[in-house]
Structures are given as C-alpha cells and as structure tokens.
Assembly symmetry: C2
Homo-oligomer: 653 residues x 2
C-alpha cells in the first residue's frame, strides 16, 4: 500500500490545482469548489456554488474514477465535447480519491483591469474631520495644579481657540498623565469631530492621513489621502474578496440567509480584508504608517453597506426592500478589523433607499446634479444600475437589476476586464470580418463589458440581428460565422479557436444577446420611468431634449463606445456631446466626503433629499420594459438619429 493509499484509507485525499501548482489534503467527498476557495484559487462563480451559473467549470486531469456522477445541474451547463474532455462544475464535484484539477482561463476571476480614476475632487474648502494641533503645556506647580485634562484643553483653547468642551476619548484619558509627562509636555492632539482621539508625543502635525474606499459589489477601489493637502497619495484596487461567497448582491444576501451569523461575519471579514490589503499597499508605496490613517470613508450600495457593517440583510432582499439604516454611520474602524489608527473612525456614507446606496449619493455629490439648473441624467452601470434624473428642484433615483451581463457574467464567453479580454469589437457589414482589440493586446480569452456593448450594435448594423435581437437566419448564407451551436441555438463566431487563448471559438449566442437586451432594457426602463415621474412632479413633460447632460459612470465607464451604447438603446437618444464619462465617480465622492466636513454634510442632505422611486411598484414598468427590449427601442421615434443610421445601412425601411 502506497503512502497515498494509506492516507486515503484514513479518509483524506489530496487535491492539486493547476496551473497554480497548489495542493492540499482534504476530507474525502469535499466539494472541489470549497477546496479551491480554501486555497484561495480565484475560481469564478456567479451563484456562489449552487450549480446554477455554470461558471466554475474545471477540467479533471487525474482521478476521474473517484468522482460522483454528473449532476442534473451540470448537464445544463456542460456540452458533450466538454464532458468528453473531462470538464465538471467544481461546485458539483466531490472526489473520493486524489485528483488533479485544471482551472481553465475562462473560469478564473483573473487579474483585472480595475478602474480607480474618476472626476477630480471638487471641494470648495479642505476641511477634514480629523485635525492635528501641536501644543506645549505649562508644567503643573503648586500654584497651578489644574488637572491634566484641563491643562490640555486650556492650552488648545488658548492657541487654537478650540472649545474647552472638547470630548476626550476615554482610552486616551486613561493614559493621559503618562502621555503628557513622557512627551515632556509637548504633544500633538489629534481631533476627530469634537473629540480628542489621541495625544501624540512632540509635533506630528505634518502626518495626517485618511483612506477613501469605493466598496463595489465586484471591485474595491481605495485612495490614501493626505488630509493636510486633500491630495491623493496612493491608489489601490482589488476584486471584492466577497465574490467567492456570491457574485452579486442577491447571492451574498442569500449567503447570509443560508449561513446565518457565520455568513454575515464571513462577508464582513472578506470585504475588510480587501480594504486592509489596499491600505497596506498604499501605505507601503508612500511610506505612511497605517496608524497615521485617522479616518476611513466608504461608499457602496445598500447591500455592501449591510455586509460592511455586519448587518443581516434579509429584509432588503424582499419587497418592499426597506434598508435597515439610511443615515451615514460612524463606527470605530478597528471594531470591524480595519487596519488604521486604533481609534480611527470609519464612516459609511448614507444610503437613499432600496439598493440605492452611498455610491449613488457619491455620484450625485460629485456630479453636482442637485445644484444644477438644468436637468441631468446619471447612469451608474453595474450589476445593479442606478439612474438619477433631475436638477436643483428635485432629483429622483431608481435602481434596476440590470444583472451582471455587462460585467461579462451570464454571457457564454463573457469575462471581466482582465488581460486578454476583448474590449472593442467592430464587424464589417459587408465581409462580416471581425476586428477586435484585447486588453494588453494578449490573445483573446473572452469578452468584457465594453465589447458586449459593441457586439449587439455591430451585429445590428451588419444586419445579422434584427430589431428584436433575433439572429437573421438567412444571413448564414452570407457568412460561416453565423452558425447553429449547441442544441441548434444560433451563435456568431467572433474569434475562431486558432486565434484564441482558449481551446474554443469565442462566440456570441442568441442567449447572450437576450441577456444583453434584458440588461439594457432594464436600464432604459429605469430612465424612462424617471422621465415620466419627474415630469409629473414638475408638472411638465420631461423629454430627451430637456436632458442637458448624461453622466455615464461605472466600471467600464471610460471604455464604452457612446454611440454603440446609444445604438442598442442603453440610454435615451441624446446628442453624443452631452454624454460625459465620469468613470469611478463613487470613489470621487468618497474622497470628497473624507476631506470635507461640508461635503459630508451635503452627502447626508442628498440622502434625505433625493427621492427614491421603487420601480417594482411602478405600474408602467412592465410595458416600458417590453418596449425597451427592442434595439434600440420599440418606438423608433424616440431614436431618430439611430433610426436614420439603420435606415442608411438598409436595415430598416
């Protein structure tokens, strides 16, 4: 009996993951998905391991005999060719003997292009909540035996006119006597709001930092800020480490519901670990100590707020979707494990309603929509898309579950904007040749969001799909690229296998088109409903021509082709010059709230002022949604320029 057999008999097996070269012993019958998670393998999953998304495909290279049979779930997602080649869904496969598992490129979350850029911070006045006050105190004498506390507060009052009613953090108070004497009475008081949160020896006033975070469902962006100058010192980005626990907000809340308090804590620990990594990265880059970070300011949607704060989010997942907390929340950063000064505050900006969260508050803050005379529209595109419409009189917001299609999810060859992702596509309407560009110009692996905007627009312009999004079957005569794929479902070959970095052609299927249609229709409906409802409130119709500006924000904000986006009807038809790509504007808003008391107060005001409209309760939603499923829209009068283009190309009469 070999050693391996011996160990296996004792109930443990080895699982090896390639190309990572990671290996570990596990209990017999462990699920490969769980094993991958345990080893930190970046295995993709949309459903969090339920077998419904089909994204965690792995190839079993050795040990096939010890596996359970294919499950029903797997048969829905794995083609016959794949079965031949040894593919399984990791979450459905429980080996009882040692196995070698290959994780193909497309099943990896991968290193991603993460966008941290955004609008420059627009702040009238640098006015952070954290300030440092160096001061020299007179030593006590028999004729001046004031308490240490009074001695400090009096000196701060004399030098800086600070109120003598300042609070003194109790932990600082406990050690105050020693701190003052050890520093020979020359100290720097660190004030947060009206509370002294530390007494540092000597003059440390030139070292005062904060950290702003955009807590995205998919990605985290972090900004180390110098609170003395208001400038960005360093930037970092990460995938949200919550992803393995559920790819989008609903599956994360499901995770909480299934796992209870353990799930709540896992999600919190995951996002905190991601933020901590960014903090440490930024601090290392810029020679700042983490203990010199005195405040952390976070924005994110309502589900991220709940996960970050460790709140059980069950009720926000069901109609009528009430959030638990709406106002901004201050907690001690260290209480949830954030790496920073031991008494640093963590501020999570307010949310508006439903899933519309602090990230959208940040969008309104940074775009200044609520100060604008003219009506503006903002789309913050993500798994959930938030749509804001209005001006200084009233801004309304709604949120639609646009789904993760434009993030590459639920799309057969979809992927995130990582190395090898196709980010730009054009199709020659005569030869049907496909031109494309990949990130870092590496051989193509799949399609990322910006390409997924291009593809339906190009197919439409090339006459390969019709206005309903259906592949035009007679076009198969014109090009071999249009073909019947798995189960006879039409698909279009964008990149044939020899050119790809994978072992398969990169195609777009009829199913993919449907997903993209649904996603863009949801966004478009969100905008349409807001135009109607805002019009009612304003007692005057709001039409496309009334919209002076469209802010496009979100993960692929700066990479998207605005004309193609308009051609598929992602947003109401506006002149392209009115479209402004603002990138990660949520991060911009987070930075503004970090460095300015006034901006933070304004954020709180936005969250109470902006009117949340619950799409689920809108009687017109269904009809508008059905109209918006068309490319660009059922009512072509709403897209005159696009209609003209299609007419010129001979696609419509």
């Amino acid at each position: 009996m070999t050693l391996r057999e011996e160990v296996e008999r004792s109930g443990r097996i080895k699982i090896l993951f390639f190309p990572y070269g990671k290996r570990e012993w596990f209990k017999k019958g462990v699920c490969i998905f769980d094993a991958a998670k345990a080893l930190g393998i970046d295995l993709s999953s949309l459903c969090g391991g339920k077998g419904t998304c089909g994204k965690c495909k792995v190839k079993i290279e050795k040990g096939m005999k010890g596996l359970n049979s294919l499950t029903e779930q797997e048969l829905k997602h794995i083609t016959e060719e794949e079965i031949e080649a040894g593919y399984r869904l990791a979450c459905q496969t429980m080996p009882t003997t040692t196995v070698s598992v290959y994780v193909p490129e497309r099943s990896r979350i991968g290193k991603q292009r993460l966008q941290t850029a955004g609008l420059e911070v627009l702040v009238e006045q640098l006015n952070p909540f954290v300030r440092k006050y160096p001061v020299k105190l007179p030593e006590p004498t028999l004729h001046d035996s004031r308490s240490d506390e009074d001695r400090l507060l009096d000196a701060l009052n004399a030098k800086y006119n600070l109120p003598t009613e300042l609070d003194l953090n109790f932990e600082v108070a406990v050690d105050l006597a020693n701190k003052l004497r050890d520093a020979d009475w020359t100290v720097t008081a660190v004030k947060w709001k009206n509370k002294i949160i530390d007494i540092e020896p000597s003059d440390t006033s030139d070292r005062c930092f904060g950290f702003a975070v955009d807590v995205g469902t998919t990605k985290l962006a972090g900004f180390l800020m110098d609170l003395n100058t208001g400038k960005v010192v360093a930037v970092a980005a990460r995938m949200n480490p919550q992803i393995p626990l559920g790819e989008e907000v609903m599956s994360r809340i499901s995770h909480q519901m299934l796992e209870g308090q353990k799930g709540v804590e896992e999600l919190q620990a995951a996002v905190v670990s991601g933020i901590n990594e960014m903090i440490e990265e930024c601090c290392e880059k810029s020679n700042v100590k983490t203990s010199e970070i005195y405040e952390i300011c976070c924005v994110g949607n309502t589900a991220m707020q709940l996960c970050f704060l460790g709140i059980y989010g069950r009720y926000v997942a069901f109609a009528p979707y009430p959030p638990v907390l709406r106002r901004g929340v201050d907690i001690r950063a260290s209480s949830i494990g954030l790496v920073s000064h031991p008494r640093a505050n963590a501020y999570y900006a307010p949310v508006i309603g439903g899933f519309v969260g602090a990230d959208n508050v940040a969008v309104i803050l940074a775009t200044r929509m609520l100060d604008s005379d003219e009506i503006c529209l903002a789309l913050d595109i993500g798994t959930n898309t938030e749509i804001d419409l209005g001006n200084k009189d009233l801004v309304m917001v709604d949120s639609c579950a646009s789904g993760p299609a434009f993030e590459g999810m639920q799309i057969k060859h979809g992927m995130r904007a990582a190395t090898g992702a196709i980010e730009r596509v054009s199709i020659d309407p005569e030869t049907f040749e496909v031109n494309y560009r990949t990130i870092e110009e590496k051989p193509p692996v799949g399609l990322c969001g910006s390409a997924l905007v291009d593809v339906p627009a190009e197919l439409l312009k090339a006459g390969l799909i019709d206005l309903t999004g259906k592949f035009v079957s007679e076009m198969a005569k014109e090009t071999d690229r249009l073909r019947r794929g798995l189960k006879g479902i039409p698909e279009f070959v964008l990149v044939p296998q020899p050119e790809t970095a994978t072992d398969t052609d990169i195609t777009i299927t009829q199913g993919d088109i449907r997903e993209l249609q649904k996603a863009k229709a949801a966004m478009r409906t969100g905008a349409e409903i807001l135009m109607k409802r805002l019009g009612e409130k304003r007692k005057e119709t709001v039409t496309e021509s009334d919209i002076s500006k469209l802010f496009m924000a979100g993960a692929f904000g700066n990479y998207i082709d605005p004309e193609n986006a308009r051609t598929i009807g992602m947003y109401p038809e506006l002149p392209l010059e009115r479209v402004e790509f603002v990138g990660n504007i949520a991060g911009t808003g987070a930075r503004m709230c970090l460095i300015s008391k006034e901006e933070r107060e304004y954020a709180e005001k936005i969250a109470t002022t902006v009117k949340y409209h619950e799409l689920a309760a809108d009687e017109d939603f269904q009809k508008e949604y059905l109209d918006a499923l068309f490319f660009p829209h059922k009512n072509l009068d709403r897209y005159p320029d696009t209609a003209n283009l299609l007419r010129r190309l001979g696609r419509i009469k």
Copy 2:
C-alpha cells in the same frame, strides 16, 4: 507518614482560620495575610500588608514551630504579652507547616453599621437622561419603503416630537430589522441623552431604573432609583472591597504603583464587584432585573475616580497633586464589568482638584451652598476631610489628610462602627467612672468614630488631659484608670477587661490622643485657612459669626456629639443650632445627578466654579496647624463658650 505529612512534603500546607472554620491548601511559605485574602477573610489592614500598621494581628493556635521568626516590623507592634500568647502580624508570617490561625475580633473588618441615609433629594424637576418611548410603527409597503431607521425615528418624532437626528447605537442598529419585526412593529425606544440605546419589544415604559453610588474610600452606598418617579426603590451598603488592597487612598495608589497595571485592575475589579453586589441585592429586594438599570451615577473622591475608571493615579499622589480628569466621565458600564443593561452609561461626576472629588461636588450640590446668600461651611469628614466655605459669590474648598483616626484606624482600640463598637462615652469628672453605649448593645470590642470625639472632650472636661492633650500625671492619684501602659506610656482605661468582648482592657493611650489631635487639627486648619483666603477674595474678614450654617457630613455624621466635637475644636466655634448633620450627603448628590439633567449640568458647573485651594501650598498652614493642635485651640478667644465651660469646670483659669 500521615497524609498531611505527605502533602506537606510535596510543598503544600493547610491553613485553618478561626472562628470562620475556613481552611484551604496553600503553597509552603505563603503569607498568612495573602491566604486570608484568598479565602475572603475580613482581616483588617491599614497598610495593605506592608507590616507598618500592625492591624492584622492574629493568634497562631497550632503550628507555631513551622513559622519564620518575628520580624522587626512585628516587634514594633506586638507586646511581650501578645508574643507569649502566640500573636503575630499576618502579613509578616509565612508558615511552612499546617497552621491554625485565630483572627481576634479587633483584627476583623467586621460587619459595620453603614450609613446610607442623607438629605432628601432636592430636585426641581425629575428629568433623567434615560427615557422610554413606546411607539407603534406602520409596516413597510411598496409605497412606503423607508428604511427601518427612518421608520422608527419618524414615528418617535410624530408621537413625541423627538428630533429625527437622534443617534442610534450601532449594536441596536445591527439588530434593528429583527427587533422591529419580532415585536410586530410595537416597540419601546430607550433613549439616553440623544442616543437610542435599545429597542425593546412591546411597551416597557413603566420599567426604567437607575443606580446611584457613593464610592467612599471605606464604604460604598448604593441606591436603586425608579427613573419614572425619582424615588428610591432600594438601598444597599458595603465595605469598599478595595480595603484589603490598602485602607486609605494613599496606600491604594501605592498598590497601583507597586503592582503596576495589575494593581490598577485589581482596585477597579474590587470596587466594581462591591457595586455589583449592591446592585444585585437591590434588584433582588425589589424585583427589578439588572438589565432594567439603564444608567449608573457615581460620586467619590479623586482617588476613587481613578480606581473606578482604571486610571493609574501616580501623579495625583505627589505635589502638586494634579488630577488626571476633572470633568464628569461617561463610560459604558459593562466595559468595566458593572452589572446593568448592556448599554447602560456609567457617569462618574466631576472632581474639583487635588483629592477633592465628585463626592464633594455632590455635597455642594445637595447643600445648595453655591445658591446661598449667606456663607456656609461644610465638613465632609473621612480619611480625607473636605472643607467647603462660601456662598453664591464664591465657594472655596480644601482638603486635609485628617487620617483615618476618626474611622478608628491608628487608634489602639479603634474600630469601625460595627456591632460592639463603643459609640458614645461620658466620663464623670468627679468619680472618673465611664459610661458608654455600644452598637446593638453588645459587649464592647473597641471605639468607633463618634466615641473618639467624645473621649478627648470628656477627658478634657474631667481634667485628665490638659489643653495640649497631655495626660495630667498627678491625676493618677485620683483614679486607677489613668495608668502607665506599654513602655510606660500613659493611658486611660475606658472599659476594663472583664466587661469587654476581647481579652484585654479597652484603653485610650497618649498616642491615640495625639492621633486624634492631629486629625482634628488638620480639619480645623482647613477651615481656618479657608476663612482667611475667602476673606481676602471677598475683601472683608470672614469670622465665625459670618458663618450662618455648618453642614457636617460623612460616615459618622449623624452619630457625633456636636458639642463634644466643638469642645475639642474640630470646627470653629459656632452656636450649636447652626450645625446641621446631613449624613451621607454625597449619596444624596449622586441621586440628584442620576434623576435630573439640570442637576448633573449644575454638578459640572460646580466643579468648574468652586475654587480649590491647595493647603500644601499655603504659607500659613504650619502655624495654623500648630495652633489648632491644642484643645480646643491655642487661641481661646476663638472658643469663648468652650473656654467658659472649661473655666466653670476649673480646668483653666
């Protein structure tokens, strides 16, 4: 080999304590004092086990052979007769074999008469910081999907006009969604200051309690208060469990300094355990749950503040004696282990300066001295005596280390006001017969504070001591009670042995008289210096006739004989009708601060307004102190009535 010998060989010995009947195994060489502490024996100690006070005398009944030799410290405190009888100081004795130890009555702290009564609470308006607000919330719908937080705050605003900016404690927020739904939307919000500290199911508004504590160096007094009515629900009292760690403030701070952080924590844990016992006793008596106590309000001197809060008190022990914190402190009660609602606040009232603490603030609060047109004097007598003098224009305070003599310490037969303590003494000036009364009329054990005021006054009136406090040796011809005791030192037999509950005569020695002289002189000097300094501030002399009222407060406040106290010159000579005994007025002040926001704010004002005068820095202290050592005072013109009395008795010309 017996079992005992076997165990002893293995390095452990048994120590038995009588009359308790407690026994336990200890390491060979353990100090008997530590063993007693470990078993909770109420062994008396002034010095905390250093061998300097001589109070922890015990009689070794078996096992004498296994002891270390008598130490130098012991030879100072133990008489030859005692050595014969097997007496040792527990703190100096380290047995190496099993011993039986008898703890004589006089070495026990004993069950004490603890005074909790005080002035009735004088509060204009019941207005506690904790309030309860029952409310019924509308359920969320698609057309009213406000956050749970807004739903609650809006309802509180609508029904009670509470500001919608109320803070929500984060722990409550985390569980808010469940709390509201579990209670079917009918809840009671518990508000402390502007923060909601709990959400309780259904209407609990009739159950709202607080606890007020007078944290005395020697004793603790606790009051369970109904915050809906402002009435006392139950009262409890305890010896301060810090006593075994040091009998007075300086030895407790020494304990901190010797033991470092461990000592700080021991002192904190000790006082907290005492308060917890009182809370539990009161709650049990009155059928209140400890979780229904939402705030705890404490007063005590500066050293007690430091010990309670867990602050290292080193610097307040040395000139210029600056306190660490002066203002009132709010901390979470549970953070230091206090038993109450998990988010109950513990408020420690502000201190004034030096050792003059929150208990003295409470005295000024409850006596209303700072509102008075006429000048008042207050003496809060304890180990440290605080003296306040002034009126609405200015109140000044100083503090003198009067020492624990009037608490029965440093007095050969002194004891606390426990069962068997002599509390009243009179001496027939002709026959020199002694009449006395004991607490609970039990056979006498020793002398408590009120008797220690009587004894020198009676000896003076009987001509047994002169104005300098010296025993008049020729009086030994008149009575056998005046005799030479140990080392030829004069003493007066108050109760001969056959009458006592101990194995010895109860006497007062020349040394005892000296201690009492020093104590009363310190108090008297404190008052004298304040009269001078207040006069300077007021630019008009302050004499006895300007003092309209003397408030006598403190442990033996209600038991003391005011004339005898005046006869020995404990306070300036005032007509006796101006003397008011106010008992535990610090407890009264604590209750006032608990049930009234206005009173608490007034306490904070008192602590900033009252002027602390540092006696150690006063140039006249030494001279005034020497004058005040005389009975009643060197300058008899200051005590005309007392001088007349003594003249009538033929004691002076």
